[in-house]
């Protein structure tokens, strides 16, 4: 798996062979034409990012602690740039995505395409990628040395998705209340979480439910839930589905 920096460097190198804008645009057009970037059925209103010039669709799903993105646009040059952005951000961890920037676009001489005045949807698309990453910050990445963790983490997430703050019709995981999940090889699980407000009257109840839900996951022997209020929870941490559910999109 290449890091974001490595992929960006290889794109910059790829572009260094083009001497004029015409070659660059032709390459982008080729990229735009050749890549099936999104499933037709994902091109929904929910995934639509409206620009004045062109429309962009972006869908995201977590997979093994990484985020998988698919996207499309009705403008082919925009689509070409999207495919560059997806090369960089697809299949990376939320933390790496949040830490990265898009300076490589400037390095390959396409900065004007990311200007807000272009209104082509790309700026909003990048913001949405980052929002997805922020919403999934709680995901931790399985790696080869911790087989156990890899096996049970999706189940822990699934279990957390059944826990609700009684006043909000969205589960604690999609609300972005889970900041960290660590599961070691011995089945000891550590969950760092927050609540939507520090003075939440049913705090104990929600923490107890999280504890119980995680403890019920097969293979989990011990659960430790740490309730923190730093960093403070904001609605930015909510998943796209959660925002939709609460009518915030």
């Amino acid at each position: 798996m290449n890091t974001i920096q490595e992929i960006q460097a290889s794109i910059v190198e790829e572009f260094s062979v083009f001497s004029d804008w015409m070659d660059k645009y032709e390459y982008l057009i080729e990229l735009g034409k050749s890549m099936p970037l999104i499933d037709e059925k994902e091109k929904t209103e929910e995934h639509l990012i409206k620009g004045c010039q062109s429309r962009v669709w972006l869908a995201c799903k977590p997979e093994n602690g990484r985020l998988r993105f698919s996207a499309d646009s009705d403008a082919i040059i925009t689509k070409g740039i999207i495919s560059l952005l997806l090369k960089v951000y697809d299949n990376q961890t939320p933390a790496d995505i949040l830490a990265a920037n898009e300076d490589f676009i400037e390095a390959i001489g396409l900065k004007e395409n990311l200007s807000p005045t272009r209104a082509n949807g790309l700026v909003s698309m990048i913001a949405t990628i980052k929002a997805y990453a922020a919403a999934h910050k709680g995901l931790s990445v399985p790696d080869g040395t911790e087989r156990q963790k890899k096996d049970i983490e999706p189940e822990i997430v699934a279990a957390l998705r059944n826990v609700y703050d009684p006043e909000i019709p969205v589960n604690v995981y999609d609300l972005g209340l889970i900041y960290e999940i660590q599961a070691d090889a011995d089945g000891v699980v550590f969950v760092k979480m927050t609540l939507t407000a520090p003075n939440c009257p049913i705090a104990d109840e929600v923490v107890a439910q999280v504890h119980e839900a995680v403890a019920d996951v097969p293979g989990v022997k011990e659960v430790q839930v740490d309730l923190v209020f730093e960093p403070e929870w904001t609605t930015d941490r909510m998943s796209e589905e959660a925002k939709l559910e609460l009518g915030m999109l």
């Binding site: 804008w21 015409m22 645009y25 032709e26 057009i29 004045c52 010039q53 062109s54 429309r55 009705d74 403008a75 082919i76 040059i77 925009t78 209104a119 082509n120």
Partner: protein, 408 residues
């Protein structure tokens, strides 16, 4: 008359190629005379208008009022009281939408607009309607982009007095069709309904005589007729401007003020609260002078028609190109062309043309409902001014063909 030499911006090179500026419907370039006056006033007469006794203020006030007189003459308004300076067409329309609707719009009433309105002549009314429990009545355009005065009459009749105002573009910024505004005004007045004309494009391409048109309000911007941005005009019939409540409160628009009650300044100052963009307003005089010269030069007018006919013919020849705004009477089309090309998305075309030094507009043109009507989300628009040339049109057509080829 050599129109190009009046406009220094046209000498620019873009990415090493001579600029071809075909986005005139968005904003026009400014002539030397405007730029010079702008600079001179900033240096020699920068004093706040209508307020002080000192010389700078007096000179600025004179220049400002000279701008108003130039506007009055250009549109043949009866008096200076009919000419309100605003920040632009949008502000002018919002003024009427706010003040007219406050006084005359009640729940169940309607404002009639057309399907081809710019968002500024649509959203302003929508907001006013929402505020007063009223609704928009939308006059459709046909496939060619034309409105039907008969349909207008049918709607006015059916509304039985509930339509309180008709707001219509003189010329649509997307379709480039001159609407039959004289007929619309005459029809609306037969039903006692006042008419506001959005003249953002009309002021550029038509000879506007507000008394001959008999419209109740006419709104336009300075920057589309060679003046600076940030200045616009609302023409209103005196009886309306007297009857409507004030818009913004502030300095200049008052007569006497106490904490209990304020009496308002007479027209036009009643609607000019706060420090005005007096430099830009003064620049309306040289700008409209240039507009008049360009419009009265028979050779330039013939050249404009030639460019229009050339582009109409050449664009129609491009395979898969669909043009919007094709009136039955071709003389009602201004040199403004909005279109889509199969297999070549508008913003992609605009981006490639930009690299070739050609400035065109792409997107929804601030007229989303009209684009929906034609099943589109984005168009490409080339809009010409009298300073454009046939040679530029030829370069544009071959560049467009090349860009399409790249994308297909």
């Amino acid at each position: 008359m050599e129109a190009r030499t009046l406009f220094p911006a046209l000498d620019r090179e873009i990415y090493g190629k001579p600029l071809i500026y075909f986005d005139n419907a968005a904003t026009a370039q400014r002539p030397f005379s405007v730029l010079e006056l702008q600079q001179r006033l900033c240096v020699e007469a920068n004093g706040n208008i209508h307020r002080a006794i000192h010389k700078l203020s007096a000179d600025a006030t004179d220049a400002y009022e000279a701008g108003r007189e130039a506007v009055r003459r250009h549109i043949n308004a009866p008096a200076r009281e009919n000419v309100i300076f605003t920040s632009g067409t949008t502000a002018s329309i919002n003024l009427v939408a706010s003040c007219f609707c406050e006084r005359y719009l009640a729940a169940g009433d309607r404002i009639l607009i057309s399907e081809a309105e710019h968002h500024s002549n649509l959203v302003s009314w929508q907001i006013a309607c929402q505020r007063h429990g009223a609704a928009l009545d939308v006059l459709p355009v046909d496939e060619a982009g034309e409105i039907s005065p008969e349909e207008l009459e049918r709607r006015l009749k059916a509304a039985e007095g509930r339509i309180k105002l008709v707001a219509l573009a003189h010329i649509s910024n997307v379709l480039g069709i001159v609407n039959p505004v004289r007929e619309v005004v005459e029809t609306a007045h037969r039903y006692g309904v006042p008419v506001l004309l959005d003249g953002a494009q009309g002021i550029v391409h038509e000879r506007v005589d507000v008394q001959a048109l008999d419209c109740d309000f006419y709104a336009f911007s300075g920057h589309k007729v060679y003046a600076p941005t940030g200045i616009g005009v609302l023409y209103g019939k005196r009886e309306w401007l007297e009857a409507l409540p004030p818009y913004m409160g502030g300095g200049e628009m008052i007569e006497t003020v106490t904490f209990e009650k304020t009496t308002y300044a007479p027209l036009p100052l009643k609607y000019e609260a706060g420090t005005q963009n007096y430099v830009a307003a003064a620049c309306m005089a040289p700008a409209l002078e240039v507009a008049r010269q360009l419009a009265e030069d028979p050779a330039l007018q013939a050249a404009q028609r030639e460019m229009r006919d050339y582009l109409l013919e050449e664009l129609t020849r491009i395979e898969g190109l669909r043009l919007f705004g094709t009136p039955r009477d071709p003389e009602r089309k201004i040199p403004l062309f909005s279109f889509v090309v199969e297999g070549a998305f508008a913003s992609d075309l605009a981006q490639i043309l930009d690299k070739m030094g050609i400035a065109v507009r792409s997107g929804h043109m601030c007229a989303e409902p009209l684009l929906h009507r034609y099943g589109q989300t984005s168009l490409l628009r080339a809009s010409l001014a009298p300073y454009n040339t046939l040679a530029e049109c030829e370069t544009f057509v071959s560049a467009l063909r090349r860009a399409i080829k790249m994308l297909r």
